[in-house]
């Protein structure tokens, strides 16, 4: 059973979004995603300052068995990236919702948060996989 915290929002490409307040969101991949990937060995994150639209490619997460693209779940500017992941990519497996966060964005359109799935909605996505 994969973990799906209630306070987060999700999209269909298995990413989570946490609204930290002040228009800043943190983004990562879900427990289901890290479990499917297996041991993560490499992460490519967007550059700080990059301006992305929802759905744009934002990076790559690579495990021993496969590479998976990461997308921007919302539109905005990348304001911070998790540099710890470069030397410790396995953090994503150990703590996908905590220390395994990928990057933070400043929202350009806060209403996009409403287009995201809630925990129940994401649970349905996982069930269909």
């Amino acid at each position: 059973m994969s973990e799906i915290p209630n306070e987060l929002r999700y999209n269909e490409s298995h990413e989570w979004v946490l609204h930290e307040g002040n228009g800043i969101v943190a983004i990562g991949i879900t427990d289901y995603a890290q479990d499917s990937l297996g041991d993560v060995v490499y992460v490519e994150l967007p550059a700080v300052g990059a301006v992305l639209s929802a759905g744009d490619e934002a990076g790559v997460v690579e495990s021993v068995k496969a590479a998976s693209d990461i997308y921007a779940p919302v539109s905005g500017e990348v304001v911070e990236i998790n540099e710890e992941l470069e030397d410790a990519p396995e953090t994503i497996n150990d703590s996908p919702y905590g220390d395994g966060w990928f990057f933070k964005m400043k929202l350009s359109d806060p209403s996009e948060l409403e287009d995201l799935l809630d925990a129940a909605g994401y649970a349905e996505v996982v069930e269909k996989e």
Binding site: D39, Y42, E62
Partner: protein, 361 residues
């Protein structure tokens, strides 16, 4: 539901992530393939490889027949010895790679890959028809491979006195049968260890006993990263029926001496004469991603592109490694096309780690 080995329930109880592997339900890992890999290099681990094909060849003409069918020469073996070999077709291509164990002067055991089972059994029946021998596929037997520097002592602590003595003296590639178990000092990881072949009904008990003395279960994912670090070929990747052993770093298994006629000899001879088309090299990518099968390789000194035959992340080395087909004179520097970008790589011998020591150069 795929085919299941005698240890299927054990894997489920241990929480294995099960996957389909050539029609078998096998354990991919039991939590972390990286941890399982490192455990084998540092201590030991056990693998269920009962999905592989075991074929016993017994009879007065067994030796003569296998000398005709296999690239290596079984006449070099005494009972209790094994060798790495291959079944070749008339064009010199590899039908399968295998280990052949000499059980006694008129009996041998072949262990071939699970993915090639039907093809190999068909081939053997077709080409042994004219010889006085019996072929028996041993589906009644399971195989547990215990590999790592502590593997042999771990197995000994799960055996009785007589069995302990029997395996204590086994040299590498040595084998022996005792009671209804067969022990071989062979493996697919580049570490010391044993492969234990035993009746299906006994497999669960041995697996449990080994677990009790601290041997961790290891899945197929780690099996692949271990063999690739050790520079060992995987059938279907480094070679197949269209690839000769000369192109797959397997030239050393071809026993040319004397006038021994074997299937593929003429084709291999012709290939040596006209020039071998390619070789296998080792490739290392220190950062930026993971090398994967099929990616193109461009060498600094050649206009011919090679291709990655097997790629992965090396847990022991901490970076990505691969085997690739290359022109014979390939330079030490190259680029590999990884997800649309050409990344700089180092090229060297097709082996990276042996007995826990980095040997890539």
């Amino acid at each position: 539901m795929g085919k299941r080995t005698a240890l299927y329930e054990m894997h489920c109880k241990l929480g294995a992530r099960m996957v389909d592997f050539h029609g078998w339900d096998m354990p991919l890992h039991y939590g972390s393939q990286l941890e399982e890999h490192l455990l084998v290099r540092r201590h030991c681990g056990m693998f269920d490889v009962s999905h592989m094909t075991i074929i016993d060849v017994e009879g007065v003409e067994a030796t003569g027949c296998l000398r005709y069918l296999l690239a290596n020469d079984v006449a070099r073996l005494e009972p209790g010895q094994a060798q790495y070999s291959a079944l070749l077709n008339v064009q010199g291509g590899v039908i399968d790679d295998l280990i052949v164990y000499c059980l006694h002067t008129t009996g041998y055991r072949l262990i071939t890959n699970s993915g090639t089972r039907e093809r190999v059994v068909q081939w053997l029946h077709r080409h042994t028809g004219g010889f006085d021998l019996q072929l028996t596929e041993r589906t009644d037997l399971a195989i547990i491979a215990v590999q790592g520097p502590a593997a042999i002592s771990a197995v000994q602590s799960a055996l009785n006195e007589a069995e302990c003595q029997a395996i204590a003296g086994l040299p590498p590639f040595g084998c022996c049968a005792i009671n209804d178990r067969f022990f071989a000092r062979t493996g697919y990881t580049g570490e010391d260890g044993l492969e234990v072949i035993l009746p299906n009904a006994q497999a669960g008990m041995l697996w449990q006993e080994l677990g009790t003395v601290g041997v961790a279960p290891v899945g197929l994912a780690a099996r692949d990263t271990l063999r690739l670090e050790a520079g060992m070929n995987l059938y279907g990747h480094e070679m197949d029926e269209t690839v000769s052993p000369l192109m797959a770093n397997m030239g050393w298994i071809i026993a040319w001496d004397g006038e021994r006629d074997f299937i593929g000899r003429d084709a291999l001879q012709a290939e040596l004469q006209s020039g071998v088309a390619s070789k296998l090299v080792g490739v290392a990518l220190h950062k930026g991603g993971v090398l994967r099968r099929g990616q193109r390789v461009k060498f600094t000194n050649s206009e011919h592109c090679g291709a990655i035959t097997s790629g992965t992340f090396s847990p022991t080395l901490g970076y990505s490694i691969a085997l690739a087909r290359a022109p014979l004179e390939a330079a030490r520097e190259a680029w590999v096309e990884v997800r649309g970008k050409w990344l700089s790589v180092l090229v060297g011998k097709p082996v990276f780690v042996r007995k826990g020591v980095t040997v890539f150069e």
